[in-house]
């Protein structure tokens, strides 16, 4: 997927001016935020669970190599195969090789952000293999030729009217006067269409929410059950997962699941939770004939031991973006790559380079709401700052910005000179205000005054007034008495 982050500002402004997108984004704020709040409040030990979940992943990341090797042994023991993919290209090649060997023409897919990350669909199509997204949201955006705008709700940027119109356009074999006004009618139409795809699919590809080292099991959580049909019916089930999805035991999955759905959708748990261990055994009534796990690194191991290691705790619940005041304004596409919102602002620069993605860690007020709701307590603002520091070291920020900041720092480090500058500044602003309490247009400060007035300074600076002996009026003796 092409990185369009350099055009972040333009895309963000475009998004804010798009009334249909703005209508759709209302659902993020009204829906997800309220549901997460209710979900968290319903569990008295939720905060302790967050601590436990964080500590669990910290432990795993310290011993990632050991757990991955243990996991591989268990997968092999259960009849599956593990493929190690250092890069996106490796992962694509491994998957297309499996598909070609099985003569696959149609591949069904469960929702997987990793397959977005490696642009798998484009590559399958180039090999003459037809990928069919089976998650409703993913199916919709595939019909539209778009990319997900949210990691758990890929089509959250669309209204149901838009979806209805796409269905009428694509499903032209169905009765034109059918009712498509309700989400349920849309869902049942997609279900009908997808049922045939499940039956003809040769390979089913899913992601994984967790990989369990103790048992060699991959776990997916869904609300539609599409993942189960994707992985059970075809000749082969291919799991694409990044290396940090590993957890030691079944018990640990329980800990993470208890915070995952509550943080994501406010549900106690998702409707379907599916554990897959190996291919079909001789006495199993169904299941895939082959079971493959592609373990993707794609730059993640380079985060270990750096200030970005904490990012690898992420369990992809989407709470950070749901609660982000910036995401709520612009949705996911403006961020310009696969992962939007605060988690993407930290992760994307690692995966595709800070040179192209400098906007991401900067387009944040650092309000910290993301960290306050993150089930894994990932210090997202701290890591956005860390990216800003890397940018500063490499001198990647605009020259005017650097010059302005250096000039300000030069003065701030010299208090006497700073006083003079503060005096000059407040005089200048006072002159511009011309006796009014504010300035409507600030020369060189259009960034501020484009959307708001600049309040005028009150008069002389505090430090000057204090130095001149001014003090606040003293309280009356009776007030002092009352407070002592």
């Amino acid at each position: 997927m092409k990185v369009t982050t350099p055009a972040f500002k333009e895309k963000a402004t475009e998004a804010m001016r798009d009334p249909i997108l703005q209508k759709a984004l209302g659902n993020v704020e009204r829906g997800f935020v309220a549901k997460r709040k209710k979900g968290a409040a319903s569990l008295p030990e939720f905060e302790e669970l967050r601590d436990a979940a964080r500590d669990l992943k910290i432990h795993v990341l310290k011993h990632l190599d050991l757990y991955l090797e243990a996991y591989e042994r268990k997968v092999i023991a259960s009849g599956g195969k593990v493929h190690w993919a250092e890069s996106a290209e490796d992962a694509r090649r491994i998957v297309t090789d499996i598909c070609k060997r099985l003569g696959a023409k149609t591949v069904t897919k469960g929702k997987s952000m990793i397959t977005e990350e490696i642009a798998l669909n484009d590559h399958l199509e180039a090999e003459g293999i037809r990928p069919v997204e089976t998650d409703l949201g993913e199916y919709i955006i595939q019909l539209r030729g778009e990319h997900p705008s949210h990691i758990i709700a890929p089509a959250v940027h669309l209204t149901k009217e838009q979806v209805a119109s796409d269905f009428r356009r694509v499903h032209d074999h169905l009765a034109p006067d059918r009712d498509l006004t309700e989400p349920t009618t849309l869902l049942s139409e997609a279900r009908t269409v997808l049922r045939r795809e499940f039956q003809v699919a040769d390979v089913g590809i899913t992601g994984a929410n967790f990989l369990i080292a103790e048992t060699g099991t991959s776990v997916i959580v869904t609300n539609e059950g599409n993942g189960d049909l994707t992985q059970t019916l075809p000749k082969a089930h291919v799991v694409l997962a990044s290396i940090e999805k590993i957890v030691p035991t079944l018990e640990d999955v329980d800990t993470l699941m208890r915070v995952l759905a509550r943080s994501a959708t406010g549900q106690e748990m998702s409707v379907y939770t599916t554990f897959s261990t190996g291919p079909r055994r001789s006495d199993d009534p169904d299941g895939p004939g082959e079971y493959h796990v592609v373990l993707l690194d794609n730059g993640r191991s380079s985060m270990l031991g750096t200030e970005f290691e904490d990012m690898l705790r992420c369990i992809r619940c989407g709470a950070c973006m749901n609660h982000c005041p910036v995401y709520q304004q612009i949705g996911g596409h403006a961020y310009g790559w696969v992962y939007p919102g605060p988690m993407g602002s930290v992760l994307t620069p690692t995966l595709v380079g800070i040179e192209k993605t400098g906007h991401l860690p900067n387009a944040s007020t650092l309000c910290g709401r993301c960290e306050s709701v993150c089930p894994m307590r990932i210090p997202l603002p701290r890591m956005m700052r860390a990216w800003r520091a890397r940018e500063w070291e490499k001198a990647l920020n605009p020259g005017t910005q650097r010059f302005g900041l250096k000039l300000w720092a030069f003065l701030a480090k010299r208090p006497a000179l700073y006083r003079l500058a503060a005096r000059a500044g407040r005089w200048g602003l006072g002159w511009l205000a011309g006796g009014r309490g504010r300035i409507a247009r600030l020369p060189l400060g259009g960034g501020w005054t484009r959307h708001r007035d600049m309040p005028a300074p009150q008069g002389a600076t505090f430090m000057d007034r204090w130095a001149a002996g001014e003090r606040p009026s003293r309280p009356t003796p009776s007030q002092t008495e009352a407070q002592s």
Binding site: K9, A12, M16, P325, V326, Q329, I330, A363, T365, L366, C367, G368, R369, E371, S372, R385, A389, R390, W392, E393, Q401, L405, W408, A409, L411, A412, P415, A422, G425, R426, G435, R436, G437, R438, G446, G447, W448, T449, R450, H451, R452, M454, P455, A456, P457, Q458, G459, A460, T461, F462, M463, R465, E470, R471, P472, S473, P475, A482, Q483, S484
Partner: protein, 260 residues
């Protein structure tokens, strides 16, 4: 005064903040009054400029560390550092130690200053046990939780507690008082359109309360909200919470001239 033995009056060094210094000295004087009324000796160290947040948040850690050293040296002799700002106090109390490596002597000095640095209103309530400031304010107000004070320092209940004790004042909560106003320091200028959209949403929730005044504890956020409210032609007045708590809310509000 009562006959009970009173402990030594703590010496509080006021960290004025660069914005209060240049834009709204009333907040500084209100802070001094509140601290003195609470029984503190207040000093204003003359060598102070800025806490260094603009550098820190821009990734310029060298300048951030240089400014931190300046603040540490200037403020470490006193019992407490208090700032009428959650973000400046948060910078000092939470981020200064991060600027120095383990083993660097400045790290220990930063940690020592961090441990005695506080945001004004939470300091009054938690350290000085103030439950009422004895001021009066007539009218309905709404209170915005500035992000750094809220999430880095836990400033949320303290200002509400002191506001509840103000005679004549009613607090009407806005929807989502804990959601960012869109200021974010240089973000407001670098991502002007985004910041403008976020603050527009914020002032909408302020207007919905019907309160005549909005209060907060950080001048950056206040200037952002005030600037948008006046741009929209709103009648809502914007003030720092300390002005109301100190009974010094009689002058023009932020962004208003005399008689505006």
């Amino acid at each position: 005064m009562t006959a009970s033995p009173s402990p030594r009056r703590p010496t509080v060094a006021l960290f004025v903040t660069c914005l209060v210094d240049a834009m709204r000295p009333t907040i500084g004087f209100a802070a001094v009054k509140l601290l003195e009324d609470a029984g503190c000796e207040v000093v204003v160290p003359p060598g102070q400029t800025c806490c260094g947040q603009p550098a820190f948040n821009s990734g310029d850690t060298a300048d951030a560390a240089a400014l931190a050293k300046q603040v540490i040296a200037e403020f470490e002799p006193y019992d407490f550092l208090v700032a009428p700002s959650g973000s400046c106090a948060g910078q000092i109390a939470k981020h200064y130690p991060e600027l120095f490596a383990e083993g660097d002597p400045w790290r220990a000095r930063a940690e020592s200053l961090a441990a005695k640095s506080h945001e004004l209103v939470s300091f009054l309530v938690e350290q000085m046990g103030v439950s009422s400031t004895g001021a009066r304010f007539d009218g309905a107000v709404t209170y915005h939780d500035s992000c750094s004070g809220l999430r880095e320092l836990g400033v949320q209940a303290q200002p509400r507690k002191l506001l509840a004790a103000i005679e004549g004042l009613t607090l009407t909560e806005m929807k989502d008082p804990d959601v960012c106003c869109g200021f974010g320091g240089t973000f407001a200028v670098k991502y002007s359109d985004l910041s403008g959209a976020i603050v527009e949403k914020k002032v909408g929730t302020i207007e919905e309360t019907g309160a005549a005044t909005v209060l907060a504890g950080d001048l950056g956020c206040l200037m952002n909200m005030a600037g948008r409210l006046t741009r929209n032609g709103s009648k809502v007045e914007v003030r720092h919470v300390a002005e109301v708590l100190a009974g010094m809310a009689d002058g023009p509000a932020i962004g208003r001239g005399e008689g505006e």
